[in-house]
C-alpha cells in the first residue's frame, strides 16, 4: 500500500464541501436520542457537558488536520502503515473497517426501528433495508463527487427542521434547569463523553482528506461543521430538558422526535410523521458516506475491486439487518459500536499525533 494517494482531478472536491460532509455525518441517528442519554449522565446540567464535549471535538478536529498535514496526500490507512509498520497498519486498518461496518449497520437499524415505532409498525425490516441500501449503492456508483453532492443536497433539504423547534420552546419550563452546577465534574465529563458518542463521524476527515482540492482551506469548514453540530445538539438538549419532566426524559427513547409530536399545522395535523420520514434524508448521507469509506478502505487495504466490494457490503448489511430483530440487541450493538468509536475517533488520533511528533524529534536528533 502506498502512503500517499494519487487522486485524479475528476474525483476531487473543494474544501468548502467538507462542511457538509463532516456535519451531515455527525448528525444522524444519534441526534434522535441524545437529550435523554446526556440527561441520564449529567441531569439538568447536560448543557455544560455539551459545551465541554464540543470543545473536545474542536481539539480533535485540529489534531486530525495536524496529522494529515504532515503528509502530502495521505489518508489514515497510509499514515498508520507508515508510522507503525505494515502489520500494525493492517490490523488498525481492519479495526477501522469493522468499526465503520458496525456503525453503518446501527445507523440503518436504528432508523428502521424508528419508522416501525412511529409510522408503520407492520413494515418488514427487509423492505426498509432494501430501500436504504439500494439508494446507497446507487449514490456510490456515481463516484465521490455524487457522494459529496448528496451531503450538500440533503443538508439543505433537512436543515429547516431546526426552525420547527419554536413550538416546544413555548412549552419550556426554565425551572427544570435550576439550580445550575449541581452535577459533579465527573458526571459532566461522562456526559461529555456520551455526547461524543452521538456525534461520531468526524473520522471521515481522515479518509476523505486526500480528495480535497485546496488543502490550505480545510480548517475553517471543518471547525464550522463541528460548531454547527455542537449547536444543534445543544439546542435539542436544552429544549428537551425544559419541555419534558426529568422522569419523562429518562423514559423517552427518542426525545428529539417526540418534540416534533406537538407541532401541527392546519394542513398537517401530525408533523411527527413528516419529521420521521424526512429523517431518512438525515440518515442517508450517513449511510452513503460510511459505505463509501468502507469501500475505499477495502480497496486501499486489500486491493479489492471497488464495485465488487460495494455489492458485497450491500448484501452483507442487508442480511445482518434482517438478523437483528429485538430492540435490545440493536441497543447493545449501538453501545458497543459507540465505545469502539470513542477510542478510535477521539483518543487514537492523539496517539498518532504524539507518535508523529516523537518520530520527528528522533529524526531531527539523528540528522544532527
Amino acid at each position: 500500500m502506498k502512503v500517499n494517494l494519487e487522486v485524479s482531478k475528476a474525483d476531487s472536491f473543494r474544501a468548502f464541501y467538507l462542511f457538509f460532509v463532516v456535519h451531515t455525518l455527525q448528525i444522524g441517528a444519534g441526534l434522535m436520542g441524545v437529550p435523554r442519554i446526556l440527561f441520564l449522565e449529567a441531569e439538568s446540567d447536560a448543557w455544560i457537558s455539551i459545551l465541554v464535549g464540543g470543545l473536545y471535538l474542536h481539539f480533535i478536529a485540529w489534531i486530525m488536520i495536524k496529522i494529515l498535514r504532515e503528509y502530502e496526500n495521505a489518508d489514515i490507512l497510509g499514515i498508520q502503515t507508515d508510522l507503525f509498520g505494515k502489520v500494525f497498519g493492517y490490523i488498525l486498518g481492519c479495526a477501522f473497517v469493522v468499526y465503520i461496518f458496525l456503525i453503518l449497520l446501527t445507523v440503518i437499524k436504528n432508523y428502521i426501528e424508528v419508522v416501525q415505532v412511529f409510522i408503520f409498525p407492520e413494515i418488514p425490516i427487509w423492505l426498509m433495508a432494501l430501500f436504504l441500501i439500494s439508494l446507497m449503492v446507487y449514490a456510490i456508483l456515481g463516484g465521490l463527487r455524487v457522494v459529496v453532492g448528496t451531503c450538500f443536497l440533503f443538508f439543505f433539504l433537512t436543515v429547516w427542521l431546526v426552525f420547527t423547534i419554536y413550538k416546544p420552546i413555548t412549552y419550556m419550563d426554565i425551572g427544570h434547569f435550576l439550580p445550575v452546577f449541581e452535577a459533579s465534574p465527573t458526571e459532566i465529563l461522562s456526559g461529555a463523553r456520551q455526547m461524543t458518542y452521538s456525534v461520531l463521524g468526524m473520522e471521515v476527515l481522515l479518509f476523505v482528506y486526500p480528495f480535497v482540492d485546496n488543502k490550505k482551506h480545510v480548517q475553517l469548514p471543518v471547525h464550522l461543521a463541528v460548531a454547527t453540530t455542537t449547536f444543534l445538539v445543544l439546542l435539542v438538549t436544552v429544549v428537551s430538558i425544559g419541555y419534558f419532566s426529568p422522569y419523562q426524559l429518562k423514559e423517552t427513547v427518542w426525545a428529539t422526535l417526540s418534540l416534533f409530536k406537538i407541532i401541527s399545522f392546519s394542513m398537517i395535523e401530525r408533523f411527527d410523521f413528516i419529521a420521521v420520514s424526512l429523517w431518512m434524508m438525515v440518515v442517508l448521507p450517513n449511510v452513503i458516506l460510511f459505505s463509501w469509506i468502507l469501500q475505499q478502505s477495502l480497496h486501499r487495504l486489500f486491493r479489492i475491486n471497488k464495485k465488487k466490494s460495494l455489492y458485497g457490503i450491500g448484501i452483507l448489511i442487508f442480511f445482518s439487518s434482517i438478523l437483528l430483530e429485538y430492540r435490545l440487541d440493536i441497543n447493545r450493538l449501538t453501545d458497543i459500536t459507540a465505545k469502539v468509536g470513542f477510542y478510535l475517533v477521539f483518543i487514537y488520533p492523539v496517539f498518532v499525533y504524539l507518535a508523529l511528533l516523537i518520530r520527528k524529534g528522533w529524526r531531527k536528533g539523528r540528522s544532527l
Binding site: 412511529f118 408503520f120 427544570h176 439550580p179 419541555y243 409530536k261 401530525r270
Partner: protein, 375 residues
C-alpha cells in the same frame, strides 16, 4: 429512457408495499370518554368520524367495556363496520370516579403509543362520560367530540383555564413538587360546559375547584396573561370618591371587573423554611367595569381602588390556599420552586406531608393603568 422507466416502475412497486388505509373504511376516533364500570372494568365511549359517501350521518358514538383502554378500542371494533384508528384522538375525558383511582395507567399507554398526539386535551367529568358524549348539543361542530375539544381549546387559548394538553399533564405529574390540574366538565340542561377545575394529587383526582378560583390559581402558577377577572369589594369602601350629583345609584354591592394585562409572581421560602412561604404578586391591569359612579379624576381615587382590590385579592388567594391545604395538593408548585433553590433538601414525602402546614403570606401590588374612555 431505460433508467426513467425503471424509476417509474420502482416508484409504483415500492409504494405498494406500504399497508393502505382507505378513508371511507376508517372510523376516525376524535374523542374518548372513560367511565368506571363495576370492579376493575372500564367503559369507553368513542366519538367516531366516518367518511362514508352514502350516508349523511358523519359521526357516531360507540360504547364498549373492557379491562384496558386499548381493549376498549378492540371491543368497539366489533360494533362497527369501520376500522377504528386512534391517530386523531384529540380529547380524552375521564369520569371523576375513575380519576379517583389514578390516571397513571392511562398516561402510560397514551405516551407509549407514538400514534397518539401529545397535543390531545385531557379533561375530567363529574357526570358519566357516556352521558356527556351522548349529548346532541354540539352547536355548529360536526359532533360532540369536536365541540368539547373546541370548548377546551378556546378556553385554554383565552387563558380562562390552565393548559390541559397531555404532555403538560404528564410533566406536572412527574415533576417534583407540583400537582397537575385538569378542566372539569359537567352538564347543564343536557349541554356540556366547563364547570371548574379538577385538582389532582399526583395522578389521583382530589376534588373540584370552583370556577371563580381558576384565575387565582393561574395567577399563582404564573402561566397566565391578558385575562379578565371579577371581584366584589366592600360596599362602602370607596364612599369618599362618589360623584356628587348621583347619590342614589350608589346603593347596593360594589363589583369591579378587571383586565389583567400582565402579572408577575415570585414565590420565596422565608429563612429556608419550606412551610413559610412569601408570595409577591404584581399585577398591571385595566378597569373594565365598576358598578358605582366613582369620580376617577379625584386624586387618590385610583389609589383607593387599587388598595381595595389588593385587599380583596389577598383574602381570595388566602381562601384558595386554605382549600389547597385542605385537599393536600400543591398545584401552585411551592415544592418545585423550593427545589429550584435548594435541591435535594426536601423529599417527596416531606413535601406532601408539609402541604397542610404551609403558611403563605401574600404581598400584592396592583397597578390600575387605564380605565377606558370615560372618567
Amino acid at each position: 429512457m431505460k433508467r426513467i422507466s425503471m424509476m417509474i416502475c420502482l416508484m409504483i412497486l415500492c409504494t405498494g408495499c406500504i399497508p393502505k388505509s382507505y378513508i371511507e373504511k376508517l372510523g376516525i376516533i376524535t374523542s374518548v370518554g372513560y367511565d368506571a364500570a363495576g370492579e376493575d372494568k372500564l367503559e369507553g365511549t368513542l366519538v367516531v368520524f366516518q367518511f362514508d359517501p352514502t350516508t349523511s350521518n358523519t359521526s357516531q358514538v360507540i360504547s364498549s367495556q373492557s379491562e384496558t383502554s386499548k381493549g376498549i378500542r378492540y371491543e368497539a371494533n366489533r360494533l362497527t363496520s369501520h376500522r377504528l384508528v386512534s391517530g386523531q384522538v384529540r380529547l380524552e375525558v375521564f369520569q371523576d370516579k375513575l380519576a379517583e383511582k389514578g390516571l397513571e395507567k392511562f398516561m402510560d399507554t397514551l405516551s407509549r403509543d407514538a400514534k397518539i398526539s401529545d397535543m390531545g386535551y385531557l379533561a375530567i367529568s363529574d357526570v358519566p362520560t357516556k352521558e356527556l358524549m351522548g349529548s346532541n348539543q354540539s352547536e355548529d361542530a360536526p359532533n360532540i367530540g369536536i365541540y368539547l375539544q373546541n370548548l377546551i381549546e378556546k378556553s385554554v387559548k383565552n387563558q380562562t383555564i390552565p393548559e390541559s394538553i397531555l404532555s403538560v399533564f404528564v410533566r406536572d405529574i412527574q415533576d417534583f413538587g407540583i400537582d397537575p390540574v385538569l378542566p372539569l366538565l359537567s352538564m347543564k340542561e343536557d349541554k356540556p360546559y366547563i364547570k371548574g377545575l379538577g385538582l389532582f394529587r399526583e395522578d389521583i383526582y382530589a376534588g373540584p375547584l370552583s370556577e371563580e378560583d381558576i384565575y387565582h390559581l393561574m395567577l399563582l402558577r404564573q402561566r397566565s396573561k391578558d385575562t379578565e377577572f371579577q371581584l366584589d369589594l366592600e360596599n362602602d369602601s370607596l364612599k369618599d370618591y362618589y360623584k356628587k350629583e348621583s347619590d342614589n345609584v350608589n346603593e347596593g354591592p360594589l363589583h369591579v371587573s378587571l383586565n389583567d394585562l400582565s402579572n408577575k409572581t415570585s414565590i420565596h421560602a422565608k429563612g429556608n423554611d419550606f412551610t413559610n412561604q412569601v408570595v409577591k404578586v404584581e399585577i398591571k391591569g385595566r378597569l373594565l367595569e365598576i358598578t358605582k359612579e366613582i369620580d376617577l379624576k379625584q386624586p387618590g381615587a385610583i389609589k383607593a381602588i387599587e388598595k381595595q382590590i389588593e385587599k380583596q385579592l389577598k383574602t381570595r388567594l388566602e381562601r384558595l390556599v386554605d382549600k389547597l391545604k385542605e385537599d393536600g395538593v400543591d398545584p401552585v408548585g411551592f415544592g418545585k420552586v423550593y427545589n429550584e433553590e435548594h435541591r435535594d433538601q426536601l423529599t417527596e414525602e416531606e413535601w406532601r406531608s408539609q402541604i397542610p402546614n404551609l403558611n403563605v403570606e401574600f404581598d400584592i401590588d396592583m397597578k390600575l393603568l387605564r380605565y377606558g374612555i370615560s372618567e
